[in-house]
């Protein structure tokens, strides 16, 4: 019986072979919303995963049904709502003009803010959701902290003086497991939907600059989201790992690996979360699975976004009413 070998097609898994004390813990991973599970339910989930059969009938590498809708909030530059099972995320992007950072005078930048609202669970009331919000925001900063994710030079208006700052605000409305993946999908969809007004810099004789906004409200620049990565979270349950874990499955898992993958399969960031430990073989296997799953996820997300955009401005907006 081998540890860390997540081959498909069953393999030998002895029924009592899982280490009982490691797996039966209270269901709280990080500071996320907790769920109470009984021993019997945990055994059921763990043994099912070893056989590549999860509680809702999915395989270990299947995502739940994802609903994506863009342009949900109208007074933003771009917005998106993503619903993955019971996880509901709303992202709004606002473009504002500001001064570039000193060390990067020719580029604009992105600012992330994550608000874990009390809608998801009463524990997030007041300042309760701040810890989780900061953790997610820091992860987002890290995965976007490379030259190729977003073309920041296109956000520059005039070097050292004016640039566009994109404030990406994530609102967590409901938490049903797998927060990072959903948030990243929503951020990508919102950036795809973002329309930044075109500006011209006019210089008069004294040298003072004037910024002119174009009159046509539809004259705007779009960001290219080809290289925006998506996070794939792989949770280790027993000897196998699963993609897109529900809250109950997260409660049975001690360690997870967050892999941020671009559409070409390039890994931009990797992070291990959770109280337990992972051995190096598992990490490599999980990373390979993450790359494989990530490419498929990107392809389907791109096709959905293009299909939605092809419906044009006359499409019926559903939002929360559907």
């Amino acid at each position: 019986m081998t540890h860390g070998r997540a081959g498909r097609g069953g393999g030998v898994v002895g029924a009592g072979a899982t280490r009982a004390d490691d797996v039966w813990r209270a269901g709280r991973l990080g500071s996320m919303a907790s769920v109470a599970l009984s021993e019997a339910e945990k055994v059921y989930i763990v043994h099912g995963v070893q056989e590549d059969l999860r509680v809702d009938g999915r395989g270990c590498e299947d995502y739940r049904c994802v609903e994506v809708e863009t342009d949900v909030v109208s007074n933003t530059s771009g917005s998106a709502r993503v619903k993955l099972g019971h996880t509901d995320i709303l992202v709004g992007v606002k473009a504002e003009m500001g001064t570039p950072k000193l060390e990067k005078p020719n580029e604009g930048y992105l600012e992330f803010f994550v608000d874990c609202s009390a809608n998801a669970t009463p524990e997030f009331e007041g300042r309760g959701g701040d810890d989780l919000g900061t953790e997610i925001a820091n992860t987002l900063y890290r995965i976007f902290n490379n030259k190729s994710s977003v073309d920041l030079k296109s956000l520059c208006i005039s070097p050292r003086e004016h640039c566009w700052i994109l404030y990406v605000d994530v609102l967590l409305l409901e938490c049903g497991g797998n927060l990072f993946d959903t948030i990243c999908i929503a951020v990508k969809a919102a950036l795809f939907n973002t329309r930044i007004p075109r500006v011209r810099v006019l210089e008069d004789e004294e040298g003072s600059k004037d910024i002119e906004l174009s009159d046509d409200p539809y004259d705007c620049i779009r960001l290219s989201v080809e290289n925006v990565p998506c996070i794939v979270t792989l949770c280790k349950i027993g000897y196998r790992h699963v993609v897109d874990a529900t809250l109950q499955e997260e409660a049975c898992s001690l360690a997870s690996l967050l892999v941020s993958v671009t559409s070409k399969g390039v890994v931009t960031c990797m992070r291990k979360v959770g109280k337990g430990s992972l051995d190096p073989e598992s990490i490599f296997e999980m990373m390979e699975t993450g790359k494989r799953v990530g490419k498929v996820l990107h392809a389907s997300l791109q096709s959905v976004l293009h299909k939605e955009e092809s419906l044009g401005p006359k499409r019926q907006k559903v939002g929360f009413l559907g």
Binding site: V73, H86, N119, L321
Partner: protein
Amino acid sequence: MAGLELLSDQGYRVDGRRSGELRKIQARMGVFAQADGSAYIEQGNTKALAVVYGPHEIRGSRARALPDRALVNCQYSSATFSTGERKRRPHGDRKSCEMGLHLRQTFEAAILTQLHPRSQIDIYVQVLQADGGTYAACVNAATLAVLDAGIPMRDFVCACSAGFVDNTALADLSHVEEAAGGPQLALALLPASGQIALLEMDARLHEDHLEQVLEAAARAARDVHTVLDRVVRQHVREASILLGD
């Protein structure tokens, strides 16, 4: 503001409504499956979500438990992208705390708290897009959410805002009308009995005009009640179809 008149000579407002007309209201109950009760409402361009948890055991210090009734706890939060200019903090600032207190006062008057002693009912309201009348939208959404959670209430709580321009009372103010600086009245009403749960007025208004504005707000709140009633009946009908009755 040059060139922007809130009420034209023919009696039309900036967005084309008449003085007593409400914006289009669309609402849905049961938006989130994991909460005890949830609802979403759109009043024109103002969008609000309300979620209710409870009645459950008091969280935090047990000393706050009331021996004869339930504790109603409200939080008002508006998303950072909800207003035209980006807000720094979604909740915790003075305005949000004040709105939370107003909501609490409103719902303590309507919910039958004596039926759940020593417990707590949490009402969380989130404004996704603010275009005037946010308090009213929050109260309406919270009413639907409390009904969705099955918590017994004395009556619906319907709210509406009203203003006064050119000797005419305007109902359901949008952001442009609120920002113009005239008197604004926010009213939360229990329609069946006509009892007022919350009444708040800003800016100066001559007392001779108060009755006119109050009447306009009350009439608008009753119109909101008609819409919400229809939404609730539709929701119950759908739910009973799913159950196979």
